[in-house]
Structures are given as structure tokens and as C-alpha cells.
């Protein structure tokens, strides 16, 4: 039966690749952190606080990347009814929300010495904040139904609607911010990046992606196992 044949193969495959992905993620993040904290230079204006960038920027990348993954998974769930797509979307949403939160929190920490305030309504930060709300809505809708299939379907439609809206929201927030802040505040990432800063950034970015992949696989696996346990429990309840 197609619903379960695929998951079986998925589980076997993920068991093989998972350790490798996890090890590579840990290695890359370790190397990236070392380069970021010890090798790369401090900024002549910002001092050591520029090192927050090595967590902030990859987190912001992940926030967008994971939302894109969710939208793609949602589309394949709605169009082809692929049985794993819903699980991928469900597993990814909280991870994406955490990365988005991390981007906001590090942005705020970075902003304090720069702007003298924990929060400014900068166009980038504000769009990321809205993205965070989109993640929260997706997670809330997914969990709001007693029937998990319905929650997954509704959340898939919402993810696609949200995905179409992300560029519109981003554009309007930028428009809004230029209306209200004609003099641009210091941007969170400089226009040109020196290679000594680029390498740690890339290592962190790739490390974060692999870390997400590993975490997502673990979460999908546990969802599959939980479904199996549930099915067994209902079967047992019916047998008695």
C-alpha cells in the first residue's frame, strides 16, 4: 500500500545517511565557529560585536530557506498527495520558527550596541518578524485539528498562500521603511565582505543547512514511528 511502502524505504534510507549528515553538520559548525571567533578580524567600527553576524546571517538564510522547503513540500502534498510531504512540512515548521527567532534575537543583540536600542523597525528585521508570525500561524493551524490529516492539508494551503505573500510583504515593508526612515540606518550586513569573513559565514551557512536536514529527518522518523504506535494501539483496543 503506497501510504506505508514509501515510509518504510524512507526510514531505512534515513538511518543510513543520518549519522553522516549529523557529523558533517557538527564539523562544519565547529570549523565555522572557530574561524568566526578566532580567525576572522574584528570590524574597525563595530569591534567584536560583528561576530554576531556569523550566527545572525545564516539564521536569517535558514528562516527563508525552510519556509521555501515547507512551501515546496506543501505543494507536493496538495498536488501529488505524497505521503511524506506533510510530515516534512510538519517537521520543518518548528525548526524554521526557531531559526527565525534566532535571527530576530541575534539581530536585536547586534542592534543594541549599534542603534542603542534592542529593537528598531528596520525593514529587514520587520520582514523577519512577519515571517516569524507566518511560522507561528502555520504551526498553530497544523495543531488545531483533532484529525491530523486535516491539519496537514489546511497548513499546506496556508503555507502556499503565505509563500506567495512573502515577497509582497517584504516589498511593502521596505516601502514603508523608506517612507518613515529616509536616512538609512547602518545595515546589518555590509555591502562588501572580505574573504576572511566570507569563509566562516559560508561554513556556518552550510553547517546550519545540514543541521536542519539532520533534525528534520529525526523528526519525520519520530512522526512515522508515532503513527505506527497509534495504529497499533487502536488495533489492540478494537481487538479486546
Amino acid at each position: 500500500m503506497h501510504r506505508f511502502a514509501n515510509p518504510g524505504r524512507f526510514l531505512r534510507l534515513s538511518n543510513i545517511v543520518l549519522p553522516w549528515i549529523a557529523a558533517m553538520a557538527a564539523g562544519l559548525i565547529a570549523v565555522g565557529l572557530y574561524l568566526a571567533l578566532f580567525v576572522s578580524p574584528a570590524d574597525y567600527q563595530q569591534g567584536d560585536s560583528v561576530r554576531i553576524m556569523y550566527v545572525h546571517v545564516p539564521s536569517a538564510w535558514m528562516a527563508m530557506f525552510i519556509y521555501t522547503v515547507i512551501a515546496a513540500a506543501s505543494a507536493s502534498s496538495l498536488i501529488w498527495r505524497h505521503p511524506l510531504a506533510d510530515l516534512v512540512a510538519k517537521a520543518s515548521s518548528p525548526i524554521g520558527a526557531c531559526f527565525t527567532f534566532l535571527a530576530l534575537a541575534t539581530g536585536s543583540l547586534w542592534g543594541k550596541p549599534m542603534w542603542g536600542a534592542w529593537w528598531v523597525w528596520d525593514a529587514r528585521l520587520t520582514s523577519v518578524l512577519v515571517l516569524f508570525f507566518l511560522y507561528l500561524g502555520h504551526m498553530a493551524l497544523m495543531g488545531a485539528f483533532d484529525n491530523p490529516t486535516r491539519g496537514a492539508r489546511a497548513a499546506a494551503i496556508l503555507a502556499l498562500v503565505g509563500f506567495v505573500n512573502v515577497p509582497i510583504i517584504k516589498f511593502s515593508v521596505e516601502w514603508w521603511s523608506t517612507l518613515h526612515q529616509p536616512s538609512s540606518v547602518l545595515r546589518l550586513d555590509g555591502p562588501s565582505i572580505h574573504p576572511s569573513m566570507l569563509w566562516p559565514l559560508l561554513a556556518m551557512g552550510l553547517g546550519f543547512k545540514l543541521y536542519y536536514l539532520a533534525l528534520m529527518l529525526v523528526r519525520v522518523k519520530s512522526e512515522l514511528i508515532a503513527a505506527r504506535v497509534n495504529a497499533r494501539a487502536t488495533a489492540a483496543a478494537e481487538a479486546t
Partner: protein, 225 residues
């Protein structure tokens, strides 16, 4: 009249008739709109210049909240008494059904808000020269709110505590309408050209006019399973 237009018209007139027979329910949103907007001066003080500066933002934000308040019932009554099943089974495309429901919602909620908005503008000491732009911006913006709201209302059918969920889903999507609605009014009040903002409001309306019925119909279909 073709069969398609017939179904659309029949649903629209039925919803309007239902709203008319339950006038008290239909007027709740506009009452909330006036009441919530009247609260702000208690919070920030009655200083006329401050209130005049806040007026566009306060009017738009409270209008947004008032629309949200009325969204939960948009499909829920039909869902609960089985009517929605029959609408899904009716021969006309479900997208038309969503469009008819959204139009009825706008006529019974958006239109009264537009009518009440100039009143609030006067309470807030806003320059009367901005009133035409307020009405134009709201006339272009509130239909988008009804349309995206219809998607949110359709998605939460059968959910636990759907009424609390809808704002969480719909508010982020409405931020562009809020931004351009306020910007158009601000531009008109300070002597700039409001046309670009108005054009964006119109573009948002056209975009949601195309996409919201599709997403709403997909949401209603999955709500039946």
C-alpha cells in the same frame, strides 16, 4: 441569466437577506470599530495634533481588527448546518461560491466601516481635506481584507478555537494593505501624490481577487474530507 451567474446571485442575495434579518449581528463589527477607535484618546491623551497625526493609522488598524472580528462566522454557520456540503456539491465552481461569500461579507462589513470611517476621522481632528482619500483607500483596501479573510475562515473550519486562530493566520497577510492604506492617506494629508499607494492597494485587491477564491475553494474542499 446563465446557470453560473444564477448560483452566484442566489448565494449573494441569500447571505444579504440573512444579514438583513439579523441586523444586530451585522452591526457588531462597525460598533466595535467606533468603540475601539474611541479608546485610543484615553490611552494617549486628548492632544489634538497628536490625534490628528495618529488618525490614519488608528482608523486602519481598528478597521482591520473589526473585519477580523466578523470573519469567524463567514463559513462557520453554513458549515455547522450542513449547507457548506451542499455548496461544495453544487454544480457551480466552488471558487464562485467563495467569491459570493466574500462579496456578501464586504457588503455587510466593509461598506459600513467605510461609511463610519469619516466620522472617526472627524473625532480625531483629521484634516477634512483627507476625507475623500480615506474613503477611496478604504474602498480599495477593505475588499482585500474580506478576500484574505475568507481564506483564513475557510482554513480554520472544524479547528478547535478557530476564532482565535483566524487573526493569527490573516493579520500577517494584511500588513501590505495596512501599509499602503495608511501611506495613501498620509500622502494626501501632507500634500504628496497618493497615486502610487492607491495603485498598490488596487494591485493587492486584484491579486487577492484572483488568488483568494482559489485558495479558499481548496480550503473548503479539504474541510469536507
Amino acid at each position: 441569466m446563465s446557470g453560473l451567474a444564477h448560483g452566484f446571485w442566489g448565494l449573494l442575495t441569500r447571505d444579504l437577506r440573512l444579514a438583513l434579518r439579523r441586523r444586530a449581528d451585522a452591526s457588531l463589527a462597525v460598533l466595535f470599530f467606533v468603540l475601539a477607535a474611541a479608546l485610543f484618546p484615553f490611552g494617549v491623551g486628548p492632544e489634538p495634533n497628536l490625534l490628528a497625526r495618529m488618525a490614519p493609522g488608528v482608523i486602519w488598524v481598528t478597521a482591520l481588527l473589526a473585519v477580523l472580528l466578523s470573519l469567524e462566522r463567514l463559513f462557520l454557520a453554513d458549515y455547522e448546518d450542513g449547507s457548506l456540503e451542499l455548496m461544495v456539491l453544487a454544480p457551480q465552481p466552488l471558487e464562485m461560491t467563495v467569491l459570493a461569500k466574500a462579496l456578501a461579507h464586504w457588503l455587510t462589513t466593509g461598506l459600513p466601516l467605510i461609511a463610519a470611517a469619516p466620522l472617526l476621522a472627524l473625532l480625531y481632528n483629521m484634516d477634512p481635506a483627507g476625507l475623500p482619500m480615506l474613503v477611496v483607500a478604504m474602498a480599495l483596501g477593505t475588499p482585500s481584507l474580506s478576500l484574505t479573510g475568507a481564506v483564513g475562515a475557510a482554513l480554520t473550519l472544524g479547528a478547535r478555537r478557530g476564532g482565535v486562530l483566524i487573526p493569527l493566520l490573516v493579520l500577517p497577510l494584511n500588513i501590505p494593505v495596512l501599509i499602503f492604506g495608511v501611506a495613501a492617506l498620509d500622502a494626501a494629508l501632507s500634500g504628496f501624490n497618493p497615486l502610487p499607494h492607491i495603485m498598490f492597494l488596487g494591485a493587492l485587491f486584484l491579486g487577492s481577487l484572483v488568488l483568494a477564491p482559489l485558495a479558499g475553494a481548496a480550503a473548503l474542499r479539504q474541510a469536507m474530507e
